[in-house]
């Protein structure tokens, strides 16, 4: 199967390597630095959780990778190295492409988007066309990337729907998205995303709009498909519970920057950055005493127009050092094995 895991010496090269990515939105009121110097690696077959609150730039990072940032936003700096799957006529050196340099609507990026990197959105209701059957939408994707004729493409679409656990897929394939429940719609969305066996699946809040019991089913399905197909997953979410359950490595973002990056166990059991620590203390937990008080983080996420100077977290930080944190911007530094933090406490 295409998209087999990379082997031998090449297995150390990450599938996706984002370096100092900056995506800005010039507006009348000023520039919104939605993503402001983000770096991380994702290895083939791995699962990277990207956590953060609204406005932290996690979704824009994903959109930058796919080249679908809405205007007037654009990538102003940085690199997004993606390792393409082996193909005849593609030399080893040519396999790594910098997605940030490719024109967003050019043929090169369009050949990767959908075929090698697929995306699942948060809202399955608005991400399907309401006037086309879900089958036709999946067939369109298959036809675009795999040069299959209409009939085999339809067979493949039905097969994909069956794989993601849609009951009676040969009937569902001819239904419109509003005829499906939220959980089924998200399954159909996953079927569409995986129809071309991508090596990287970007899941942007894939279960946020779903009920907990449906969420369980969808997360389980994603894990099962990952085992079978070996794709890497970049899981974007605000839910620390979902991250703890799914991810191997975690990137914590705040106001467009990576504040901490570590294996999942370190994030939850040995967090270093004050924001990560405070976030873990503040979330309501299912294992708690009844009516137990929480430890909130003071203040709220600043508006992107009035971004604090220095470290973006300093106005809410319990360890704020005046004269340092409000003047200089900390950079991401290694503090342990695969563990990096951007905080002056560790410099």
């Amino acid at each position: 199967m295409a998209g087999s895991p990379v082997d031998g010496a090449s297995s150390t090269a990450p599938l996706l390597s984002v370096r100092n990515l900056k995506t800005y939105f010039p507006q009348d009121e000023g520039t919104v630095k939605a993503v402001d110097g983000v770096s991380f690696d994702l290895h083939a077959g791995g699962t990277l959780g990207v956590v953060g609150e609204s406005g932290c730039g996690k979704s824009i990072t994903a959109r930058s990778i796919l080249g679908i940032v809405d205007r007037p936003g654009r990538i102003v700096d940085g690199e997004i190295h993606f390792r393409r799957r082996t193909a005849p006529g593609l030399s080893e050196a040519e396999r790594t492409v910098d997605l940030a340099k490719l024109p967003p609507n050019g043929e090169a990026l369009r050949a990767i988007r959908g075929a090698e990197i697929a995306l699942i959105f948060q809202e399955p209701m608005s991400s399907f066309s309401p006037v086309h059957t879900i089958g036709n939408q999946i067939i369109e994707v298959i036809g675009l990337h795999q040069r299959l004729a209409k009939r085999p493409a339809r067979e493949k679409a039905i097969e994909m729907l069956r794989r993601v656990g849609v009951s009676s897929p040969d009937e569902r394939v001819d239904q419109l998205s509003h005829q499906l429940s939220g959980g089924l719609r998200q399954r159909a969305m996953i079927a569409m995303a995986l129809s071309c066996s991508p090596t990287l699946l970007i899941a942007d809040e894939p279960t946020t709009a779903l009920d907990v019991t449906t969420q369980t089913q969808i997360l389980q399905l994603m894990r099962q498909l990952q085992r079978e197909d070996g794709m890497a997953i970049m899981l974007i979410t605000h839910d620390l519970g979902v991250v703890a359950e799914m991810a191997k490595d975690v990137v914590v973002m705040y106001l467009g920057r990576v504040v901490e990056q570590a294996p999942v166990d370190d994030i939850f059991h040995a967090p270093r950055h004050p924001y990560t620590k405070a976030l873990l203390r503040s979330i309501p937990r299912i294992r708690s005493g009844a009516r137990e008080r929480l430890t909130p983080i003071a203040g709220s996420v600043p508006h992107p127009y009035d971004r604090p100077s220095g470290c973006p977290f300093h106005p809410r930080c319990p360890d704020f050092m005046p004269g340092k944190c409000d003047r200089e911007v900390p950079s991401l530094r290694a503090v342990g094995n695969r563990h990096a933090v951007s905080c002056f406490l560790y410099e």
Partner: protein
Amino acid sequence: MSRQALLRVDGLQKLFPIKKGFWKRTVGHVRAVDGVTFHIDEGETLGLVGESGCGKTTTARCILRAVEPTAGEILMRVSDGSEIELGRLRPAELRALRREMQMIFQDPFTSLNPRMTLLDLVGEPLLVHGMKNREEREARVADLLRRVGLRPEYMRRFPHAFSGGERQRIGIARALALHPRLVVADEPVSALDVSVQAQILNLLIDLQSEFRLTYLFVAHDLSVVRHISNRVAVMYVGRIVELGTTAELFTAPKHPYTAALLSAVPEPDPRAPSRRIMLEGEVANPAAPPPGCYFHPRCPYAIDKCRTEAPSWREISPAHFAACHRAEELQLAGVE
């Protein structure tokens, strides 16, 4: 019972007609709320949980009579100690009682009029209920804003100048303006950022003891409900399937649906053992619910009786109720 019930809901039912065809004939009903019974004691918080479409919001709205219930009784104990049947009140009588019951909404971005300042927003209920003097009103608004943690100097600003958490505080100030006794909070923190949720939950707990408020707390997030509720009711397809004290319901659930819901909450700890109960299929359609127990098609413990006979609502252990044929015999796992 040491405490008095502030609110008693008995057999509450709300059916929404399904209309079809040119003549808009009623072809069926969505049984949004189907025979719900519970009470809330004065000063306590009852959490009402369930998945989308289970009827928890409709129940809350029926109590405030924002939606007219189809059947059932809603009894509220008013200040003089007598009980009033809310369902039978005429509009004018209801308006007077509205002082005593207020609502906090889910989405602070759509529930505040963007063209009104904080003073107008929080002062409006005061004006409607007869506080005509402007200075008096301003002083009261300033006091309310302080109570919810906002600076009174901001009272001439508009809601757009505030973050989600601050807007939710405005909504809370507005709900508290008339010294209500019952506050119905419908998903008050689910639209907020994680780091802000804790602030609002703590504020709600503080205000409750300060003003001796009684909360009906409607939410889908079980972790949030555990942090705020004294007792919890779990709804499934228009019915309450289990009701008990927070501690008991979470640690020793009696209904398989509650156990499945509890197990489905992902824990923010990668070392937590997986304790998933995978429910097959989807929530039943409230327009055409299955026979017998509504949960039986998804229930891992279903027996023949569950497919034909609706389970009775009964007290399994003191103050712990469930509607399940096998509630007494099943040993279900909760969370510690």
